[in-house]
């Protein structure tokens, strides 16, 4: 099955990319733009049919590799959820 993982910076953690994007958008005249935050979006194909097992594995992947939990949050979404 396919997993979609969003990794976002925790509040209070500086986000240079997000900031730069926001500035660029303002300079281009997109005045309605407020706060901008940039994160990661990771898609993983899993050879696993059991949702619970899949979620457990993904959770471990996020903790150990995909996210730096000191500064990042992650959100896992599985097919058909």
């Amino acid at each position: 099955m396919k997993a979609r993982i969003k990794i976002t910076l925790k509040n209070g953690v500086l986000d240079p990319q997000g900031k730069a994007i926001g500035n660029a958008l303002h300079q281009l005249g997109f005045d309605s733009v407020g706060d901008v935050r940039q994160g990661k979006y990771i898609e993983i194909d899993l050879r696993e049919t059991d949702k619970a097992k899949a979620r457990a594995a993904l959770d471990e992947m996020c903790k150990r590799v995909l996210a730096n939990t000191v500064i990042e949050n992650y959100d896992i979404e599985l097919d058909g959820e």
Partner: protein
């Protein structure tokens, strides 16, 4: 008879960039209609980019030999002897069209390609440069292209770990729809450790190494040879993505493999990847090649033979290995975590056979694929010479100082710091003089041996007079290398022009080559490698003729070298060379007066050589404390650059025999500004006399201003603000895709 399920229609043939007479040539050659796969193979082998069909005739006229030349044009890169059994391996290559379509990816893969050319020969890359040409600043796409290209060059080179130490940046409306990205790379090897692409031995395994094959850049090669029109933005998906990390692994794996003695022949997969590399390996070795595409590591499902043969996926190599060493070899591949597979073998029948799903997809005569490629003697008309321009007919500026400040802040004259600070120019720890000087310098060992590098061409000169422009490109490169104290050894070229099917464009090409050839002969700087990029033209508008020259020089003792920065107060400024105040085609005329006209400064190669040899001898005997050559912007700009980089001012006495602006901004060739300590002055002047080299005292160093007698002093800070300010300010505005 081979099965073929796709009709070879005239449209399909045209889509492959093959002209009817070229297709007829194919029919005559193989005596039957080609299969779809074979058509793809021919289109890849016979396009301008791979076959040099329009340029071959003229490239042959370039001097390519010399006592230090170990390998001239024809291999992945040239090889030049730098003593003690060391050799320098270098080449330059363009990635113009891909960089225009997707600046970051195009520039990055351009750098990746040239690095691969160098380490394929067994050399570890030690220096990179890049010659960049962009559209007019006011063109809305320019900023996006500048930002993407510079980031791409840096992104790839920085990660790979090669210091990027020099280059050029120009802006001109003529590049609005065709930017130029020419990447140079040089690597160090031992004379007895050079590897070539020529396969040797029948029945030997052909090994594929590197990243997997995807549908990247299919028809990239044909695209790089097609004139643009507005719908070529459609061609976008052919741009490939570079992976500098994989390239670094490939470098280390290849060098380890070569050291192990397992490599018989090796060829990187560049334009038209598998096709060109396999054919070249076989043809050079008078061998046939049999490929089983089912063995090729693929990234995507269901790739056809056609797609695999034309894929331009990056970071891939093809090699012939000693069968008995397969175990050692695969251990190295595994260590570096690279895909590898035996994808074929060499045969004795001179055929190029390609199988997919055990079915024969292509069966072609391997030598003819290359040797029988069309070659054209395209009609050409020499460019019309401009009328000579008399300096007295050129309007003088209201105020010399203000004109100088304005010139230092011009897009083509301002500091390139914003560019080179995005490049790691220190990695490897051998950079002795990074970007910012006349030539960059790296050390080769810690016994004092060093190499100097410079990349030069002045396109506006080449347009006004291709022959003189060609000469000047070589002369300026030679001069920049000389100005740091190095002996120019050899050069590589990257010839960027418009559509060669137009006689006037072909005339520019022929003229520039003639000039380059003359200069290389007179200055003993043979061309050992190079690249031609034609069809840089959009909707009939061609780029300026831009034959970039990348030169390499040798420093026996890096501690006897010069930089352009003024080192001390109270020293004397000496001008070497005769000033005529030539303003034709000068920056002053083009960008301040805004009326470009006249002939470019003539290049007297004998004088160039005599003056340069004299200056080099002075540097090597440590008799000067700073040296800078005169190029764009003339004498006053040169002295301003010396003062700004040293943080020490100067006072100049103008030459009253010339109009002030001609003295200040004339772009005469073969001239240098020296800074000479008091105790060395008299002997230097008299030695110059003896040598018949014009040398005159033009001023002294000191203070924090640049002062021309009779004019108001200009503070260094004002000069520096103007010089450093333009590019960062220009790039500060947001860019859009």
């Amino acid at each position: 008879m081979i099965r073929n399920d796709i009709d070879i229609t005239p449209e399909l043939i045209a889509d492959h960039g093959l002209k009817p007479d070229e297709y007829q040539r194919i029919l005559d050659l193989i005596g039957r209609e080609p299969t779809f796969t074979e058509l793809g193979i021919f289109s890849a082998m016979w396009n301008e980019h791979c076959s040099y069909k329009s340029s071959k005739k003229w490239l042959r006229t370039l001097p390519t030999k010399g006592p230090r030349v170990i390998q001239g044009p024809g291999e992945n890169a040239g090889v030049v002897d730098i003593d003690d059994g060391d050799v320098i391996v270098f080449k330059m290559e363009s990635h113009n069209h891909p960089s225009f379509i997707s600046p970051y990816e195009g520039a990055a893969t351009g750098v990746g390609g040239i690095l691969r050319d160098v380490f394929t020969m067994g050399a570890r890359p030690v220096a990179a440069m890049n010659a960049l040409r962009f559209g007019a600043p006011e063109n809305e796409r320019t900023r996006h292209i500048v930002s993407g290209v510079v980031e791409g060059v840096g992104g790839y080179g920085n990660c790979f770990g090669v210091p990027t130490i020099g280059g050029e940046v120009n802006f001109d409306a003529r590049y609005n729809s065709n930017c130029l990205v020419n990447a140079f790379a040089a690597g160090l090897a031992k004379a007895d450790g050079i590897f070539l692409s020529e396969a040797k031995g029948v029945g030997l395994p052909i090994v594929y190494l590197g990243s997997k094959t995807g549908r990247d850049g299919i028809h990239g090669a044909t695209m790089a040879s097609a004139e643009f029109d507005d719908d070529s933005e459609e061609k976008r998906p052919t741009v490939q993505i570079g992976d500098p990390f994989s390239e670094k692994l490939l470098l280390e794996a290849c060098l380890e493999l070569m050291a192990s003695g397992a490599v018989i022949a090796i060829q990187d997969m560049g334009a038209a990847g598998l096709t060109c590399s396999a054919v070249e390996m076989g043809a050079k070795g008078n061998l046939g090649v049999r490929l089983d595409l089912d063995k090729v590591p693929c990234r995507e499902e269901g790739m056809t033979a056609y797609e695999m043969m034309l894929s331009e996926s990056q970071e891939r190599m093809l090699m012939v290995l000693k069968p008995e060493m397969e175990a050692e070899a695969s251990a190295i591949f595994r260590k570096w975590d690279l895909d590898f597979a035996i994808v074929g073998e060499t045969t004795d029948d001179l055929r190029f056979r390609v199988f997919r799903h055990n079915e024969l997809m292509a069966d072609l005569p391997i030598k003819e694929l290359g040797d029988e490629a069309p070659e054209y003697d395209r009609p050409w008309t020499p460019s019309k010479p401009n009328a000579v321009l008399n300096a007295n007919d050129v309007p003088a500026p209201v105020n010399l100082g203000d004109a100088l400040v304005a010139m230092l802040a011009l897009p083509d004259m301002c500091s390139r710091r914003w560019v080179w600070e995005q490049y790691d120019n220190l990695v490897q720890g051998n950079t002795l003089a990074g970007p910012g000087g006349d030539a960059a310098i790296i050390r080769v060992n810690d016994k004092g041996k060093g190499l100097a590098f410079s990349l030069d061409v002045t396109p506006r000169y080449c347009e006004a007079d291709p022959v003189e422009g060609g000469k000047q490109a070589v002369a300026e490169c030679w001069r920049n290398i000389t100005a740091v104290g190095a002996e120019p050894l050899a050069a590589t070229d990257n010839l960027n022009f418009g559509n060669p099917e137009k006689p006037e464009i072909m005339g520019q090409f022929v003229g520039c080559i003639q000039g380059i050839g003359e200069a290389c002969l007179a200055l003993d700087m043979p061309i050992v490698s190079g690249n031609v990029s034609l069809y840089n033209e959009t909707n009939g508008q061609a780029i300026l003729p831009t034959p970039a020259i990348g030169g390499v020089g040798l420093l026996p003792d890096v501690f006897a070298r010069a930089g352009k920065a003024i080192q001390a107060e109270g020293e004397t400024l000496v001008l070497i060379g005769a000033r005529k105040g030539h303003l034709g085609q000068s920056i002053y005329l083009r960008d301040i007066v805004k009326k470009p006209a006249g002939t470019p400064p003539p290049v007297d190669l004998q004088v160039e050589r005599k003056n340069g040899d004299f200056v080099r001898a002075l540097i090597r005997s440590r008799r000067v404390s700073a040296v800078h050559d005169i190029s764009d912007g003339g004498l006053l700009v040169a002295v301003a650059e010396m003062a700004m980089s040293g943080g020490i001012g100067a006072t100049l006495t103008p030459d009253k025999t010339l109009p002030a602006h001609a003295w200040a901004f004339g772009e005469d060739q073969a001239c240098y500004v020296l800074v000479v300590p008091a105790d060395k002055l008299d002997s230097l002047i008299s030695d110059a006399d003896k040598a018949g080299v014009p040398a005159r005292i033009i001023g002294t160093t000191g203070g924090r201003d640049l002062t021309v007698e009779g004019e108001a002093p200009i503070s260094l800070s004002r000069l520096t603000d103007a010089h450093e300010g333009w590019l960062p300010n220009f790039m500060a505005a947001p860019e859009t895709h």
